[in-house]
């Protein structure tokens, strides 16, 4: 067998860089990356058969359930090449698979010399995979094209081999064919990793430089930082220093993952492993930063460090106001493990006390919310997501607005909004539908290319606000789920934007305000007022619902006064029954929010803030 017993394999800190191959797997959600990784763990025998479980490397429940990887990992796999019979160490670096985490992906890629481009040969390449492939090519990584799921009856390896060959400039026959499920072709793949991907190159005698490509908070050990050593050497005795902050840390442990953490004597050039320093917060050990040693620090940081910048903001409020401290605690805890999450207290007249949170994107937002609800047992309402606007007043003052409630009332000279470059991959039959959607969303066509006869790549610039609204849900539903989307921020552009307020009986309901394009203000106003008319129960008086831009009313509805709220009969046995009903209504009344004199059930707020797509998702979840 080409597997090597762990104790006899080359040891960390004592492995010749020429024996090392660092690679990652670029794949779309559900194209079988985790299954292939499981298979590699099995074949290299780092995990014994009896300890094997599905998606071994995905630690969080959420990862396993959603079948996606949120945080990356690195596993050291000893392997004896079937081609030259030599011993090698393969470091498999798992990358997060979503557009929200592009920066983290780019850092994982920077830790590798090669990438496996894994494509489900029943589905073909998806937009996010394509974006990550381009990133890998920009990083000069060696790409090994691999078609997965060749065991599927619907597999079309020829078609997609041609597609991949065209994309990366190789021959269709160069595409390897594997099945993560059956294990077919995986041994050959491991051998090709050795054969094709270059060994890492670095200066063992230079001051230490290690790239942080992931940073994870562990309840027992504090922050575990994943690094790729570029130059020099890290040893357990070192004091290390973060290049960006200059902060010094004691090294508590150095090790490798194989696939459970094992302490080592250190890490040398080209090696991938982890360090533990006793840091309690991932923001002190940021992805992209360079670790060096305190005693012999490097003067030149590794390229590419960036602070994560939140792109999407939303208010999170506990359904039960009493849960506010719990929400704060849960956010604090989550932030230990999520350097990109930012939040600050926010209070809403309608929703009470909560937090304005900043996220990398919509998935990041969903994941955070889901983790808060699941891990802290909270029930939350979130307000409609907003992007970051720069508003310039007539007198030249600039304001950053991430919440419609901060939108200035005075004269506005201009508003800048974030713009993204969006790439959509889809079967060509949907070109018309997709273009229509992008036009509706203020998109500008950049170009279109055929990937194969019946698949196209369509590129648009679109305001991020439009994407954030419900673009992805719309795209999926209008293309029967076939289209995939990727986007990257490319700057800002001036937008003809206005703030639409919603008023209930003249009282402004902050949770429903939105910043929208002028041409869509009316539609938003009509949508919200009619939705609220359905959702808010009739009151003792007529309640006007208005949508307004400043003092100008653009849409109105009214809830007629209730005329009948009485039980006709109340005799002997009815009395207890009616009193018990009253006691129950008392509980309901507690959950009413007052907007001026209008009683609004919490359910109405939730429903009004929920898009149809959310409702469908919730239904689907309830079913499964």
């Amino acid at each position: 067998m080409p597997a090597i017993e762990l104790s006899k394999a080359p040891q960390p800190a004592a492995t010749n860089p020429a024996q090392i191959r660092n690679f990652c797997i670029i794949a779309h959600i559900d194209h079988g990356k985790s299954t292939l990784a499981d298979r590699m763990l099995g074949i290299t025998e780092v995990v014994e058969q009896r300890n094997m479980r599905a998606q071994y490397l995905d630690r969080m429940d959420i990862e396993r359930e959603r079948g996606i990887t949120i945080k990356s990992q690195a596993v050291r796999l000893p392997w004896r090449s079937g081609i030259d019979g030599q011993e090698y160490i393969l470091n498999m670096i798992d990358t997060p698979g979503h557009v929200d985490f592009t920066y983290e992906v780019s850092r994982s890629l920077a830790a590798c010399e090669g990438a496996i481009l894994l494509v489900d040969c029943a589905q073909g390449i998806e937009a996010q995979t394509l974006a990550n492939l381009y990133l890998a090519m920009e990083n000069n990584l060696t790409i090994i094209p691999v078609l997965n799921k060749i065991d599927l009856p619907a597999a079309q390896p020829e078609k997609f081999a041609a597609e991949l060959a065209k994309l990366i400039g190789c021959e269709p026959e160069d595409c390897l064919r594997v099945s993560g499920k059956t294990g077919d072709g995986v041994v050959e793949l491991l051998d090709q990793i050795v054969a094709q991907i270059p060994a890492p190159v670095g200066d063992a005698n230079a001051p230490a430089r290690a790239l942080i490509f992931d940073s994870v908070y562990d309840t027992y050990r504090g922050v575990v930082t994943y690094v790729r050593v570029v130059d020099g050497h890290l040893s357990p005795r070192d004091q290390i220093q973060m290049f960006s902050t200059g902060v010094r840390h004691e090294m508590l442990e150095v090790g490798v993952i194989s696939p459970e953490p094992v302490a080592s004597k250190g890490l040398g050039v080209g090696e991938v492993g982890y360090v533990i320093t006793g840091v309690k917060d991932v923001r002190q050990s940021r992805v992209g930063d360079t670790i060096t040693t305190y005693n012999n620090p490097t003067k030149v940081a590794l390229a590419g460090y960036k602070d994560p910048k939140p792109m999407v903001f939303s208010g999170l409020f506990p359904l039960d106001g009493a849960d506010y401290p719990l929400l704060r605690e849960a956010l604090d805890k989550l932030q230990l493990n999520d350097a990109a999450l930012v939040f600050e207290p926010e209070s809403s007249a309608a929703l009470g006390f909560g937090f304005r949170c900043g996220f990398l994107g919509l998935l990041h937002m969903e994941i955070v919310r889901e983790r808060l609800e699941r891990e802290a047992g909270l029930s939350l309402i979130s307000t409609a997501p907003s992007v970051v606007y720069h508003v310039f007043s007539d007198d030249g003052k600039e304001m950053t607005v991430t919440n419609p409630s901060e939108f200035p009332d005075g004269k506005i000279a201009s508003i800048m909004e974030p713009i993204v470059r969006a790439t959509v991959l889809a079967p060509s039959e949907f070109i018309g539908t997709i273009m229509e959607l992008c036009q509706e969303r203020r998109g500008t066509l950049l170009g279109m290319d055929y990937l194969s006869e019946d698949r196209v790549e369509i590129r648009y610039t679109i305001p991020l606000a439009e994407i954030v609204f419900d673009f992805f849900d719309q795209l999926k539903s209008r293309t029967k789920g076939y289209a995939s989307l990727d986007y990257e921020p490319i700057g800002e552009a001036e937008g003809d934007l206005v703030k639409v307020d919603i008023l209930l009986q003249g009282e402004h309901v902050d949770a429903f305000s939105a910043i929208v394009h002028k041409d869509k203000a009316y539609a938003y106003g009509v949508m919200m007022t009619s939705k609220l008319r359905e959702l808010i129960p009739r009151q003792q008086f007529e309640v006007p619902i208005q949508a307004a831009i400043g003092s100008r009313i653009i849409a109105r509805e009214s809830i007629r006064a209730i005329r009948k709220d009485v039980l006709a009969k109340c005799y002997g046995g009815d009395i207890s029954r009616k009193r018990k009903l009253l006691e129950k209504q008392k509980e309901g009344k507690k959950r009413m929010k007052m907007v001026g004199r209008v009683e609004v059930p919490q359910e109405a707020f939730i429903a009004a803030l929920t898009t149809d797509a959310d409702i469908d998702k919730a239904k689907a979840k309830a079913k499964s």
Partner: protein, 369 residues
């Protein structure tokens, strides 16, 4: 024999009970059981004085033999005594009545009769599963007067699926033309578990619209007032001296004892209710046991909730001085909105206006929550 489709009373047909005996036999043995329970009641409530009111209802008691009704009345009179002005009411299906039957009933001491008229529209009666001939109501009322009943009332139901405002107006006009001194008019409640509720659920009939219900209530109140019937409770109107004293006792939180399966009772802040099934009821009594299924002792808060919830229904209203300052403050907007009567409010009373009566439950919640 069959039950009406909207009825959620604790009723059973002989077929459901798998009883094959004659109705007269059922009537006799049932009254025997009531007499047993009345005896227990006498022991349980030794302090109770002469009985001021008795009500036979919650089904069709006129199906029983007048002689059996006489037996239970004799028993009650013997063990408790009757107040000199006792009011004894019986509910009646017009089809079960004749001048002879009414005379027999009157002879037992029953002096008030409430006739289930419901509607004059055949299509409405059909939806309600009422089999009576609307024309029989007029003769029933006439005979009741001939038989010497002091008080005659009719029950009406509005808001039945398919009933138009014009249908309801016809019913109202026919009702007020009768020689009666009391009218109850109830908005139809689609009670869970009834045949009607199932029909609504299956989409066979449409749930009555609340706005139309409100219009019907207002029309009723208007026509009744014009005909000399004044409201004294949300769903009850009477000519002077025609109020049902028995029902007023419920709304005033008085003590009462309910005899029979499923009957509820209230004595001094304790409520209990009998086992529902007639067979269980019989077994318990035959074993000499008290037939209560369960009971509750009301807390001070619950007593107050019930007081507000019941007193608000009455024209006599709630004394403002009995409410806390915050509640009084919250009610101001209902005075301004003419849902509470401004004059009464000034006089220190919380009394509903015509439109206020339609949202009585909301006002109760405003006071209590």
């Amino acid at each position: 024999m069959k039950r009406c489709g909207y009825c959620d009373f604790n009723t059973y047909t002989p077929a459901e009970l798998q009883i094959t005996s004659e109705l007269s036999e059922i009537s006799r043995s049932y009254i025997d059981l009531l007499i047993d329970e009345a005896k227990l009641a006498r022991n349980q409530a030794p302090q109770a004085g002469a009985i001021p009111t008795i009500f036979f209802g919650g089904g069709t008691p006129t199906l029983m033999e007048p002689s059996d009704l006489a037996r239970i009345l004799q028993e009650l009179k013997a063990s408790f005594g009757f107040a000199p002005d006792i009011e004894i009411t019986i509910e009646a299906n017009p089809d079960t009545l004749s001048l002879e039957k009414l005379s027999q009933l009157r002879a037992t001491g029953i002096n008030r009769i409430s006739v289930g008229m419901q509607s004059t529209s055949p299509h409405v009666l059909k939806v309600l599963d009422r089999t009576h001939n609307p024309a029989n109501v007029g003769s029933a009322v006439k005979w009741a007067r001939e038989a010497g009943f002091e008080h005659v009332s009719v029950d009406l139901i509005y808001g039945t699926p398919g009933e138009s405002l014009a249908d309801w107006e016809n019913t109202l006009r026919e009702a007020i033309a009768l020689d009666i001194d009391h009218i109850s008019a109830y908005a139809l409640i689609v009670e869970a578990g009834t045949k009607l509720a199932a029909q609504v659920k299956r989409g066979e009939v449409e749930v009555p619209d609340d706005d139309l219900m409100a219009d019907k209530y207002l029309l009723a109140d208007q026509l009744f007032s014009a005909a000399g019937f004044e409201w004294y409770e949300l769903s009850n109107w009477a000519k002077p001296e025609g109020e049902c004293r028995h029902n007023i006792a419920y709304w005033q939180g008085r003590n009462w004892w309910g005899l029979g399966p499923g009957a509820h009772s209230h004595i001094d802040g304790k409520r209990w209710w009998n086992v529902k099934h007639p067979a269980t009821y019989r077994d318990r009594l035959l074993a000499g046991e008290f037939p209560a299924a369960d009971s509750e002792i009301l807390t001070a808060t619950q007593i107050e909730s019930e007081r507000v919830m019941l007193e608000i229904r009455l024209r006599s209203g709630i004394a403002r001085s009995s409410l806390d300052a915050a509640a009084i403050d919250r009610l101001q907007s209902y005075v301004a909105g003419a849902q509470l009567d401004a004059q009464s409010w000034a006089d220190g009373l919380v009394v509903l206006t015509q439109t206020g009566r339609l949202i009585a439950d909301r006002i109760v919640r405003e006071i209590l929550l």
